[in-house]
Symmetry: C2
Subunit: 319 residues, 2 copies
């Protein structure tokens, strides 16, 4: 980083939806200079910025320093941090989305779901620091420029493929100053596999039956055993891929989910709202890793095939 610690960090958030606005507001509250690139909400955000309604953090605002339609319009030199918050779905070229604003000293931060989603970015920007982050947050866009924050909010991150750089530490310090709990990890890929164990199982199942919430899934007698066995398949892949998941975590995830109020996964919400689902990032990449590592994953393969049928059908239906 060439900036001194005194100069405010210059941060550009690409694809600022609910997640980007939520963390952007925290970074701005901590004194960073936060700009955003957003497409569908551009007019509203340029006029009014974002409002984040949160029981936990109170009402927050994000008034971007620069509001852009595309990162290429970013003024004043490259940003210190380019935070990518878009869904990882087909048809979205993430490299093209950020290329216009990545300078030689820009750290790229991915706050995105999915497994093995970093390589593409790392290969396109081999000279840049890459920070991979996992958001544990429930937040939704409720109107243009309006975000509702329901629960949680923590961010776990580290450098890709491993380590924790000073630049990552500075990013954490900013977020903590903005009241976001951060966990820095030397091995972010292992954490990504852990989160994947929940996502790759609950998300697909929640879409089937159009749609099932967590109570529908775990409430049926056959539900928890299926989830448990599917999670064991993810564990086996993660271990084969060099990121073993603690043995007790699956049971803890299931118990935690059972105790929480019933809720719909992001994939279920995307399905209901006829939006693209992160099938490939969350489940497809998991399945391909399993095939590559020669792990038997009949349940995940079944869920994947079913999801691809549903996705194909959804694509046939005009919205």
């Amino acid at each position: 980083m060439t900036n001194s610690q005194q100069a405010p960090a210059r941060i550009l958030i690409a694809g600022a939806g609910a997640i980007g606005a939520f963390y952007g507001a925290a970074l701005q509250a901590a004194g960073a200079e936060v700009s955003v690139a957003c497409r569908s909400e551009y007019e509203t955000v340029r006029e009014h910025g974002y409002r984040i309604h949160s029981g936990q953090l109170g009402e927050r605002q994000l008034r971007p320093a620069q509001t852009l339609r595309s990162v290429a319009g970013y003024q004043g030199g490259a940003p210190d941090y380019l935070v990518l918050c878009v869904k990882v779905v087909e048809g979205v070229d993430r490299v093209a989305l950020i290329r216009g604003a990545v300078g030689p000293d820009t750290a790229i931060v991915l706050i995105e779901n999915g497994i093995e989603i970093e390589q593409e970015i790392a290969q396109a920007f081999p000279g840049n620091e890459l920070i991979s982050a996992l958001a544990f947050v429930q937040a939704s866009r409720v109107a243009p420029g309006e975000v509702r924050h329901f629960a949680f909010g923590a961010l776990t991150f580290g450098n890709y493929p491993n380590g924790v750089s000073p630049c990552a530490q500075r990013f954490a310090a900013l977020l903590e100053a903005g009241n976001v709990k951060c966990t820095l990890t030397e091995n972010v890929l292992a954490v990504r596999w852990q989160k994947c164990m929940w996502n790759a199982v609950f998300n697909p199942i929640s879409v089937l039956g159009a749609v099932l919430d967590t109570d529908d899934i775990l409430g049926a007698c056959e539900g928890a055993p299926l989830v448990q066995r599917a999670m064991q398949e993810v564990c086996a892949i993660a271990a084969a891929a060099g990121h073993p998941i603690p043995a007790e975590l699956a049971a803890q995830f299931i118990e935690g989910t059972r105790k929480a109020p019933p809720y719909k996964t992001s994939m279920a919400l995307d399905f209901e709202n006829a939006r693209g689902m992160e099938v490939e990032a969350i489940l497809g990449n998991t399945v391909r890793a399993g095939r590559r590592e020669k792990v038997a994953i009949p349940i995940l393969e079944t869920l994947y095939a079913l999801l691809k049928m549903v996705e194909r059908k959804a694509a046939k239906i005009p919205v």
Copy 2:
């Protein structure tokens, strides 16, 4: 059979919906004395009988000799054939439904879907001849007393657990005289397993994604391989249960389904119309047979667990 060949066969159809009315009309056309027990359509049927609209067979009628609310009201002695055409779903006590009209010489005919659904009837009526039949027909009730026949119509049957009795032959002769193609089989259980290979795979998948037709299922790249692998699991169970399925049948089923126009399975139609689905008869019994025979069936287990979630959710929603 105590009746001479000259006397018209006395046939009572219990649960005469689309299937019962379709075969009942054929039997009546062949000169049999056909009566029906039906609940929801009772008033209409007593007044007007059934009308069967069929491109293949022309317009047909069934004017029942006796129209009953329950088989217990059947007059003139026990019937020669008591034909049970109800769906095999929870909450329907099939034994109770027919007990009131089964005499010592009554042959019980099951025209029903599912696997291992005969034992319950055989145990309740150990002295009666039991004929197990599989209908290859597409027909739906379109209004009270009105049935539309779309395609096919053949019936394959034999005695349970095996053999072909003179009584079964007489039943076939009647149906053939009424223009229904019959295939008599010495080993009806093997045929039931063959039909199950299609039903236990396409029916559950069709419900997931609410709902997928056969093109949605086979059109996705991942679709046919999943169907093929799931069918192989059914083959393995059938073989272990002593009813091996010809190796080439799965590929033939898939190819035949692909060539036919896209259509929705009975389970998908039941799901869409908030009716009970034959999850247990078609898939649950298959899965339990697999567990009993210690066959690895991860795909069928996955489909079964997903279906049970969907079924539980459907039961929560008031129609």
